[in-house]
Symmetry: D2
Subunit: 274 residues, 4 copies
C-alpha cells in the first residue's frame, strides 16, 4: 500500500526520519501499522532539494531495510525539504522506474493508494496526458500517470487545482468504464519551495495521513526532547503514519483536505476533484 | 544495438549456442563484431519451449556474461525451439520489462534495431495498439510496442503479414511526424511451432542477420565436427552475427526478406511493409 | 529467520509447493507463522535435480514474491527432488552468494537458523575448513561456512555424521569463545538420491521443522483431494512450516533428530553433535 | 581490469570527472584505452568526504553507464576529496560487497590489478588479517583482502609503509606457493586529509597510473579553458588513464612509486614491498 513522508524545515539529515525515528519509514517498510498491508518492500526512493541545481533522486528496487546505499546516503545528505517513499506494488512490476518519487523539472511527487481497475483504465488515462509530456513517462504505475495528468492540468502553476483536476479526470474516466470507488490517494509533492500534501478517496475511507503539530507546541510538551529542540519553529513533517508514539506530536489530516507547508503560516484547504 | 539468436531443431541445451560456441551470444554481449556498438550489456533474456505448458522466459538486467543464473539455466534447460537476446539500450531504461524476449500467450518476440525518434512517435504508436492489448504493455521500449502493434494487426493468425503491417504503420506514423529512416529491425519470433525471422530497414542498410545452412551440407564440409553430427537434419539457427568463423556454415539473410523455419522445407519470402 | 522446503518423490512442478500451496513457501516469505520473524524477503533460491548433469540452482536477492523469473522457472521446471529457500538475513549482506541453496558437486544445502556471535567466531570457523575447500566459499554467511565445514568433515561419504561433526565443531569453537547457545539449525541437503533433514539447537528450543506423513495415509484422509492423488506413494516433503492447514498431513520432526527420505523406507535417526 | 580516479582540491561536483570529462570514468567503463580489457562493467562505486561525519559510499553492481542513481548523485554531491572506481572482475562474483571503494573508519581504498592465483593463496592471505579486522571483510575480492592486510600492518598510522608491508606479505605468501609475478596493483586511498596513490607490479609491467600536472602550469597552457580556471591551485587528480587528450595535463606515475596529494607540496616517494 506504500508509506511515505515529506519534510520541510531547518535542514536535517534524511536519516533522522527515514531511519532514526521510533517508527521510522524503514521500520514501516517491514511493519506498517495503519494499514492491513504490513510489508512495503517493493522498492523505495528519496528525493531532496538543496545539494544540486534541481532535486536529487535515489531509487532502488531493494527492500528499504536492506539497502546499504540508502543508509549511507541518508546519513550523508542534509536537506531542508525532502520526500521519501517505500513501495508495496498493487500489481505493476518492481522496477526503478516504478519507484517514487517521480520527478519533472523542479517537481517531486509521491503517492500512496491506487486507481481501481487500473489496467482497464490505463489507456484512456494515458490519452489524457499532454503529448509533449507523454514521452516522459518511464514506468507503468498508476501513480506516475496521475503525476503526468496533474502536470497536464497545470501542476506547475496551480498545484492543488491541477491535482483536483487529475482526481476529477480519473473519476470521470472510471465512471465511463463503470468502475466504482476509483481513486484512493494520499499525495505528497513539492517544487522545492512548498510541500503539498493531499488526502482523498472516492466513496471510501481515505488512507491515513498525518501532519506534525507546531514545533513550538511540541517542544512545550516535551521540553527535554533533543530531537524537537534542534528543529526550526516552522519545521513540519507529513507522514502516512506517525513516526512515534508520543501523544500530541501528530494529528490526522482530514479526508478531502490538502495541506500546504510553506514559509510563514501553513494552509489547510479542501480538496475537491473537478 | 542488441544481438539475438533463435534455434529450432533437435533438442539441445541452450548453453550450446549461448555460451559454448566460438563467438557465442554471451561473447557477443561483450564483443560484438558486426556492428559499431561492441557492448550489449544492458540486460538479456532467454525464452524457450518444451519444459512447461507455454514458453518459459528468464530475463535479467545484468550483463549476460556475469549472470550465474544464466549459466546454470542454460546448462539445465534442453529445448527444441528457443530465442535468446542481449540488449544494448537505445535510451530506454535498463529494467527487466524492457528485456527481450517479450511474450504473449504462446508467442515470443525479440528485436534488434530501433524506431527513429521513438520518444516523439511513442504516443501515436501506442494509440495504434488495440485497447485490449494495451494493458499488457509492461515496459517502455520501441520493441515491445512493435510486438503489440503486430499482435494488434493479427500476428497470431498471419505472423509475417502482421509484422509487415506493423512496419507499415511505424513508417506511416513516422512520415506524418517528418521522421526519416524510421525503422531498423531484425525480428525473431515464434509460436512454439515455427521460428520466424525478418530483416528490414527503411531507406538504410539493414542490421546484419544470418541463418545457418542445411545441416547435411555443413556436415559434409566438416565430417569430423562433433557439434554438427548430433544436430538433426532440420536444425536451424538464425543469428545477428555468426557464432563462429567456419566458412560455409552461415549465410546472410537478404534485406527485406523473412525466413520461416518449420518442419519440412523452410521458406524465404519477401518482407514488405504494408 | 529463513524458511525452506525439500521435496522427493514423483516429479512435480516446483511451483506446486513454492507457489500453489495454501501456505506456500512464497506465502511464507511475506507472512511466516511459526516464527516471530514474519518476513523472509532477503533473497531466495531453488535447487533441483533432473534437468541437467548436476543440480541446477537459481538464486536472487529479490523478495521471492516479486520475482517473475521464479514464477516462470517454477512453472517450467519439473523435478523429482528439489530444495527451495527464502532468506531473512541475520546480518550478513543481501547478495546472491549468500542465498541458499549452496552447492558443491552433486550436493545442495539449505539452512534455517544461525551461529550465535557469528562474526566473532567466523575466523576460527573458517580455519576449520579444509584448505582445498576454502576457495569455494563465495559468500559470507554462517550457513555456507557450516556447509563447507560439513564437507570438510566428510559430508560426501557420511552425510549425517559429517553434519554432526560440524555441529560439534561449531559448539566447541563457541565454547572456547564463551559464546552460549551457539547453534540453531534446521538443515536440508541432498546428493540427488536422498533428501536429508536435521533439526537441532544447542540449549534452546529448535526452530520448527515438519515432514509430511505417508502419502497413502494422507490420501485415505482426503480421498477427494487431487493434489494428493497424483503424488507417488513415496513422495515426501520436509518444510520449515506446514504448507497448509489440513490436519493429518504434517508432523513435527523431533528436535535433535534427522530424517532421511530415500527410495524404500525413510529413516529417522538421532542427531548428536560430535 | 578496473579503472579508478581520485581527486583532491577545491570542492567540485563528482560528475565533473566521472561523467563530464572527454574520456570520463564512465566512458572508460565502456571503452578503456590503456588496457587490453575494454569493458569495466562489473559494478562501480564512489566514495567521498565532506557531506557527513565520515566518508560516504555509493556502490552498485550495474554497469556505471546505465545507473541513473550514479548520474543523480554525481550531479548532487560536491566534494573536496573523492575516489571513484569501475570494476572488471577477475573472477570473483559481481556483488556490491566486491565493489570499490572499500571503507574502514575514515579510510577509503580502491584497487586496480590482481593477486595471481588468488583463490589458491586466499586462505593464507586471510590468515594474515588481524583477528579483530577479519569480521569486517564482507566480500570475496583480493582487493578487499589487500586493504585489510594493509590495515593489519598499520595503514591508519603509516599508510604507505603499511601498503608496502602488504605487498611484501602477498609476494612472500605467493613465493611459498610457487606463484610467479604475484602482484599487480595501482592503489588509491584516503583518510579524508590526504590522497595516496601507489603504482607497483612484481616482475612485470605495472598497470597505468597518471597524475595531473600542477594546475597553474596547466592553466598557462590553456588560458581559455573554463574547467581549469575554476580549479584551486592545489587541485590534483590521479587516474588509471587520462581523462582527456590535451597534451601537458597528465603525466605517468613511475612504477614502484607512490604519490601523496596533500595541503602544501605533494610528495613522490619510492614504493618498495617489505
Amino acid at each position: 500500500m506504500c508509506r511515505w513522508l515529506g519534510y520541510a524545515g531547518s535542514p536535517i539529515r534524511i536519516e533522522e526520519l527515514v531511519f532514526n525515528a521510533q517508527h521510522s519509514l524503514v521500520e514501516q517498510s517491514r511493519n506498517a501499522r495503519f494499514t492491513s498491508h504490513l510489508t512495503n518492500a517493493d522498492g523505495f526512493g528519496i528525493g531532496w532539494y538543496g545539494t544540486g541545481a534541481g532535486p536529487g533522486v535515489y531509487r532502488s528496487v531493494a527492500p528499504a531495510w536492506s539497502d546499504r546505499n540508502l543508509q549511507d546516503l541518508s546519513a550523508q545528505i542534509t536537506s531542508p525539504l525532502f520526500l521519501a517513499h517505500v513501495r508495496a506494488t498493487t500489481g505493476t512490476p518492481v522496477q526503478q522506474t516504478n519507484c517514487h518519487p517521480f520527478r519533472h523539472g523542479r517537481w517531486l511527487f509521491v503517492h500512496n493508494g491506487f486507481i481501481a481497475d487500473y489496467l482497464r483504465l490505463r489507456r484512456d488515462l494515458a490519452l489524457g496526458v499532454a503529448p509533449d509530456l507523454f514521452p516522459h513517462i518511464e514506468g507503468t504505475t498508476d501513480s506516475e500517470l496521475m503525476f503526468h495528468l496533474a502536470l497536464t492540468f497545470g501542476l506547475e502553476d496551480e498545484p492543488l487545482r491541477a491535482l483536483e483536476r487529475m482526481a476529477g479526470f480519473v473519476e470521470e474516466t472510471a465512471r465511463r468504464h463503470g468502475v466504482e470507488r476509483p481513486l484512493q490517494m494520499t499525495v505528497g509533492m513539492s517544487d522545492g519551495e512548498r510541500l503539498y500534501a493531499a488526502r482523498y478517496a472516492s466513496d471510501q475511507e481515505a488512507n491515513s495521513l498525518y501532519v506534525s503539530n507546531d514545533v513550538r507546541d511540541v517542544r512545550e510538551l516535551y521540553p527535554e526532547n533533543e530531537r524537537f529542540r534542534h528543529l526550526s519553529d516552522e519545521a513540519r513533517a507529513v507522514v502516512s503514519e506517525p513516526l512515534g508514539d508520543l501523544p500530541g506530536v501528530w494529528r490526522a489530516i482530514t479526508p478531502a483536505t490538502a495541506v500546504i507547508v510553506q514559509p510563514g503560516a501553513d494552509e489547510v484547504v479542501p480538496f475537491t476533484p473537478r
